[in-house]
Amino acid sequence: MYRYDQYDQSIVEARVAEFRDQTARRLSGALTEDQFKPLRLTNGLYLQLHAYMLRVAIPYGTLSGRQMRMLAHIARKYDRDYGHFTTRQNIQYNWIKLEDAPDILAELATVEMHAIQTSGNCIRNISSDQYAGVSADEVADPRPWAELLRQWSSFHPEFSYLPRKFKIAVIASPEDRAAMRLHDIGIELVQRDGVVGARVFAGGGMGRTPMVAPEIRDFVPESDLISYVEAALRVYNRYGRRDNKYKARIKILVHELGADEYRRQVEEEFAAMKQLGLDPPTAELDRIRGYFADPAYESGLPDSVDRSDPAFALWIDQNVKAHKQPGYAIVNISLKPAGGIPGDASSAQIDLVADLAERYSMDELRVTHAQNLVLPYVRKADLFAIWQALDDVGLAEANLDLISDIIACPGLDYCSLANARSITVAQKIANRFADPARQRDLGELKLKISGCINACGHHHAGHIGILGVDRKGVENYQLSLGGSGAEDASLGAITGPGFDENGIVDAVEKVTDIYVRERTAGERFLDTYRRIGMKPFKEALYG
């Protein structure tokens, strides 16, 4: 894992001091709420329905046991004893007092964490593949590149007042586990003539105008990365729309200009900027890479696992994934227990996962964009002990990528922008499909729920997507089918008129019934939908 040096530490500490000063000016009345708002927003502090919400950055979703323990401590000391892991691989706390925020940031700084740029119209936390470094299919570890971009984007003086927020993802595998092409800039590391470089996509996103990002450059060498991305951002900063907040994301600019014209402008800017020496020397990426070297794997470990406990065997089949190293496995911890709130974890649960990471996973864990956790370096021999420990705190749900592994935004329970509740709908669907055997029979099925058009719950990318809308003051839910955030990225299509809260649960069930009736051997829900199209589903829903 990356560790701060004196420079990283001093920058984060300066930020704490700055925010302490700004908060004091607000509390004394020297700053009005209007003046304070843009300042707190660049530090992840939102005023929500009931209280302040603080979003803490977890760069590319990677953290140590010690950092995880700090997250539990903050939940316990400053919040209501839980935190909420987000689709951006961050964590947010929903019940924060303004006067506590500077102390929270100071505590975070002691474990090399911060809330810098977790909101506001700036470059947000860089996201990545939760299996980075341990998956056999990657061409390189994407995290050093993500860390290089994290540093470059932190307090970037030119890009702190962009037209709108800006999200970057970096992956390095043909299988896309990070919804890379639904980001403002998506980077896929690829190999050419034995050299690793960046394939760059721009203009993806969700929200009210979802778009899958087109490729704008097939290969950017390591030595040009920063100046190229800087050029891409500059074109956006200068020409992205500022007249309408809903048209201000880069996807609209790329769409209106066309990918070819946007690419041409970026190349022109890049040609000028490349001369300026903006790129760090290759020694810097090498320095960062040093922190992400493989841990000391043991060799000769057994690959077999005693599967005699049937519940344990089910959990292995669903939640444990292949590791690049013999004798090791990747453990997914579902934060979607039946009847729970997707992504929520209590401080006791967070502490336990920190313990497990320290004890069994080389002191490292990951947060996924599906709001789950990962222990990336587990000896197969330890799987049973881990499963038992998770089961004791209600975290052994064997539902990874199944219908109850729902992504849901906070919705009307917390969010001031919401039209409808997301969490209740998620819970009702999970209850309807409570039978684990039925879930397994339905197989991989990504269900995603957003409480409004801003699409924080990624509903466009759901195999089944649900969007809360307001219909004459009544909560109403639109259903869409066929979205995907993976390497076969696509946007879901709306089935037709929406449903009320119970109606949407029935509708999801009808849709899965059609799938079960129509599927051929080995087909996932998404495959069947793509083969047979919308019509049979529509007939079942409205016929």
């Binding site: 040096d5 420079y7 990283d8 001093s10 920058i11 300066a14 001091a17 700055e18 000063d21 700004q22 003046q35 843009p38 300042l39 119209n121 540093q151 470059w152 932190s154 307090f155 970037h156 003086p157 030119e158 890009f159 702190s160 007042y161 962009l162 037209p163 500059r234 900063n237 200068r238 500022r242 000028a272 900027m273 300026l276 020496g277 903006l278 760090p280 020397p281 020694a283 810097e284 320095r287």
Partner: protein
């Protein structure tokens, strides 16, 4: 309170700045004021006759002026580069980094707040046009050019 702030050694430009549109036609003008939608690149051929560029920020959240400033400095402009309009004290560090060297804010700055802001960050991550060494250059003194 401070309603004008300069980091230059010379006297601040006094000549009234002409608009971007007017500037093209007035070959003797040496001060120009650009709005967020104006293309700073169009000034590059005339840089040697300009001694003051005012970059207007009608609202603090419109960040186009930061790019305009850097573009001018990257092209070698050494005259006065002044941020005017809805400029907040919490923005002057980023503006300095983009090449602004004078400020005329709509609402005067508090000098203590200015001093605190300028002193706060000893280290920066990016190379820009202000000559400060980014942390990657400090980390690798042996390999860093320029």
């Amino acid at each position: 309170m401070v309603d004008f702030l300069s980091f230059r050694d010379d006297e601040p430009g006094q000549e009234p700045a002409v608009t971007f549109e007017a500037f093209a036609g007035q070959t003797n003008a040496t001060a120009v004021r650009i709005e967020p939608g104006d293309d700073a690149r169009a000034l590059l051929p005339s840089l040697d006759r300009i001694s003051l560029v005012e970059v207007n920020f009608p609202v603090f959240g419109d960040g186009r002026g930061y790019s305009a400033a850097r573009i001018l400095r990257e092209a070698g402009y050494t005259g006065e580069l002044r941020a005017v309009g809805d400029v907040l004290v919490d923005q002057i560090v980023a503006m300095r980094r983009c090449g602004f060297d004078s400020f005329r804010p709509d609402h005067p700055f508090d000098q203590t707040a200015v001093d605190a802001a300028l002193a706060r960050y000893a280290d920066v991550y990016q190379k820009t046009v202000d000559g400060r060494a980014p942390v990657w250059a400090k980390r690798h003194p042996e390999t860093t050019h320029g």
